[in-house]
Point group: C2
Chain length 372, copies 2
């Protein structure tokens, strides 16, 4: 059930089979360093989200660049990270259901694990599962700071849940999860900044009510690539969860960045594709479609050819349209910039890591398909 990678180490890029996922190591390594560099002197730590890469090889490099651990969204994703040598994982998400709680407790025996909650029944289930497993679990309360997805409302509801956690024999209240997800892809810098200012106000209000109730709450975590410097300078957040900065996809690139203070991350992730048909005037067809690049946030962009547009994807085909004189022939290979990096990475088993036109390494995406 595992496929041969599209390349072998040492191969020239031209020989690499398609479609596959290319990682430009020079650009990746610059991105890897740029984010921690931008945080120098600030009282904030980095815990990058591993849902973007699902690859312990990358997680280890993030730790080497100063990260304190990683975030995951799923227990099975966290298992893959721990199996890959990562000892500190925040599951930045709610975990529900007996099977998953059992796996979560098993994982908490062999790594530092934190998990989010927003529901009293789920807190009871976590306490019971921790009791059965003989472990104590660290819980973050997720607060809805504007994304309107998961999380209790800021303020009093968080205090109710914190009291329940502190009264539970097998649970520890570890702080607040306050991720403003919808702000990340808002195009204008000022609007992203305002959204995070509101999130910060929501967190402060909640912290004050917790303090009034005698509950200490210093640890606050959140932020994504689109906004992280605003959280970092808030003096409220303790850790950042940015993930996409290492890859920089086409949708994030449509954000405005100047005057955000956030450094210019480079595209490092590409889908390598071959022209498989060129029978129509003005168009060519490549071998990368819906199963090679997720189109949830728009079509991929064609790298290096500003005058060629990727206009349509079907299961295994992508249609390119020429805007000027560029013409491809069957067999030509080119790079696509995925619309959305996370679900695109999840389609592949390997990163084909390239430097100076050669394959330098193959990194397995061991949490690919880790849905549970």
């Amino acid at each position: 059930m595992s496929f041969r990678p599209a390349a072998t180490v040492g191969m020239s890029l031209a020989e690499v089979d398609t479609p596959c996922l290319l990682l430009d190591l020079d650009a990746f390594e610059r991105n890897l360093q740029r984010l921690p560099d931008s945080l120098k002197g600030l009282p904030i730590k980095l815990r990058p989200h591993a849902k973007s890469h699902k690859c312990p090889e990358i997680a280890r490099r993030q730790l080497a660049a100063g990260a304190v651990g990683v975030c995951c969204q799923k227990v099975s994703e966290a298992e893959a990270m721990v199996d890959g040598g990562i000892g500190d994982v925040l599951i930045a998400n709610e975990v529900v259901g007996a099977a998953k709680l059992k796996r979560l407790c098993e994982l908490a025996r062999r790594a530092s694990i934190k998990v989010c909650v927003d529901d009293a029944g789920n807190v009871r289930d976590l306490d019971a599962a921790a009791h059965a497993a003989g472990v104590t679990l660290d819980l973050l309360i997720e607060v809805d700071v504007g994304a309107h997805r998961c999380g209790v409302a800021p303020g009093a509801p968080a205090v109710v849940l914190a009291k329940q956690i502190t009264a539970s024999a097998n649970l520890r209240f570890a702080g607040l999860q306050a991720y403003q997800g919808t702000a990340q892809h808002v195009r204008k810098v000022a609007e992203r900044r305002d959204a995070i200012a509101q999130a910060v106000a929501d967190v402060r209000h909640t912290q004050q009510l917790l303090k009034d109730a005698g509950i200490d709450c210093d640890y606050v975590t959140g932020a994504g690539t689109g906004s992280y410097l605003f959280e970092a300078t808030s003096s409220v957040y303790r850790e950042l969860q940015a993930g996409s900065y290492i890859f920089m996809d086409a949708d994030y690139a449509r954000n405005e960045w100047t005057e955000s203070g956030i450094p210019a991350f480079e595209h490092s992730l590409f889908v390598w594709t071959t022209v498989m048909s060129a029978t129509m005037e003005g168009r060519a067809v490549v071998d990368a479609g819906l199963k090679a690049s997720s189109v949830d946030s728009g079509m991929p962009r064609v790298a290096d050819y500003a005058d060629v547009e990727f206009v349509k994807a079907s299961d295994e085909h992508g249609v390119l349209q020429y805007r000027s004189s560029t013409r491809f022939k069957v067999g030509d290979k080119l790079k696509l910039i995925p619309g959305h990096c996370d679900p695109t990475v999840n389609l592949y088993d390997w990163f084909v890591c390239v430097r100076n036109g050669r394959v330098e390494a193959l990194w397995p995406i061991t949490a690919r398909g880790a849905l549970l």
Copy 2:
């Protein structure tokens, strides 16, 4: 790199972990039989497209129900089918590049393989690869019968290519690939019927020119679930490539079907999901997002609850909105009908096969991720 399935055989559906891909065996088996039943008495054979299921267990059942073989889109997908015991595979797609041609020739040694072409250079490459491998390859010329994706224009260009093939020492001209892909999801029956009538006219014209050039061309293949009965009754097509009929996704269900003569296929494929958060008025959040159900053809539908709408997907979250009195609580499990079955199946390693509320089997999706 392979994950534990979400279930074990014998488990009750309520115990099955989420998100996972459920196959309702009763509905699946009815669909499996309904399509061949609808062809009785017609001079047509069925070669279902395996890109929909990527699972030899399903391919074997299609053969048992009368299919003559399967279609694939990729060499690696065809390898997975041959490895799974399927001896006759049509790669209903162009195959480009030295690495793939080598694998194609290797595969042609151990199974009956046909492949499509629409480019003279590719035909030369195929002839050279076949020569190097000491095999003879069967080639179909893909004709663009209206989908405007791959394929040469009907008529003279196909004759030019057919002459090149018949003049190549290591190639056989095996017929025409004439798939009208864009017609499949046209909603109105009359418009689908008209599109296929045009495709049939294009094929007849091409066959006549081939005959005039002394080239026999009896074998014509194409059709999808949306139109197959029109091709089947055309007296031009010899084989049908329908694939989605076994699953019937939400997008296909939006087609009009009455008066098409095509039987009513049932939804048999579902994403099983858990409510993971329910803090907001009028909404709930489930644990199935973009990595659990492809949204390229629209959001999934909520099965069994006509008054609940799946309104938004992020990587690992789906937001449900209530339209009337239904309310879910954290831990409730429900079924989603994927918007598009093919790229959704490609996200999973297992079909969890269910009958009468019990897990009857786990079928591995061995061609999941077979992109090369």
